[in-house]
């Protein structure tokens, strides 16, 4: 089956993102496909390219990126939720006159409409909230 995950918890603050990642790996091991992970609410912080966790802790941003590299999983981030939290890609940073940027590929800023579309393009949508 083709799965999509909705992640709404910030990394390191709460369990939601860690659980989502473990679920992601488990379903791939079982032979399922993970088509999309959609980050919303505080889940958008999972996309911060500037995250620098201690070396003896799991690097969540890196783990999401690895999912994309190994399995082609789309990493979609709600633009409205992200921008107001300072999660912003190079293009939006320019548009808003900001010097730095915090989000880069393979994460993509996208609209909430994509979350609605996920339902038609995947067999299951599983939500991970704090």
């Amino acid at each position: 089956m083709n799965y999509a995950l909705l992640v709404q918890g910030a990394p390191y603050s709460q369990q939601a993102a860690h659980s989502a990642l473990r679920f992601a790996h488990a379903l791939i091991v079982r032979g399922h496909t993970l088509g999309t992970v959609f980050f919303y609410h505080d889940g958008v912080y999972n996309a911060s390219r500037l995250a620098a966790p201690p070396q003896d802790e799991p690097h969540l941003v890196e783990a999401w990126r690895q999912l994309h590299e190994d399995h082609g999983t789309s990493l979609l981030v709600c633009i409205a939720a992200a921008l107001r939290r300072g999660i912003i890609d190079e293009r939006e940073a320019r548009r808003h006159g900001k010097e730095g940027y915090t989000l880069e590929a393979p994460f993509e800023l996208t609209g909430l409409g994509q979350l609605i579309d996920v339902h038609t393009s995947h067999d299951r949508l599983v939500t991970f909230s704090p």
């Binding site: 609410h41 909430l112 409409g113 979350l115 609605i116 579309d117 339902h119 909230s129």
Partner: protein, 123 residues
Amino acid sequence: MSDTTNHPMLVVLRHAPHGSSWLREGLDVALVGAALGKTVNLLFLGDGVLALRSGQQHGPLGQKGTHPTLDMLEMYDIDTLLVDSEALTQRGLTVADLQLPASPVEAVSLPELFAQHSPIYSF
């Protein structure tokens, strides 16, 4: 997978206004779903019933508040508002205290309600 393509979408709102962005971001999902042509129903559960309480104002925190969004629901053809009747009672409220007409639902009917909707988004 059973065919759920004709099921209405359900947005479950479980948080009170003002204390967090859960309610606002949940309502945003409902509005976008409706704008994309989905039939969207709302279920206010637990503290979420407070979202419907009439007489709300903008808070001192500079938040927009969610009560103006509730007034827009009709424009988006979102007219099925379901409210957790036990949560209302626990908070000393009745449907007469609410900003919009809402249908009370009992906890026992929730499994069937969830089975009739797809997708379900919970906030």
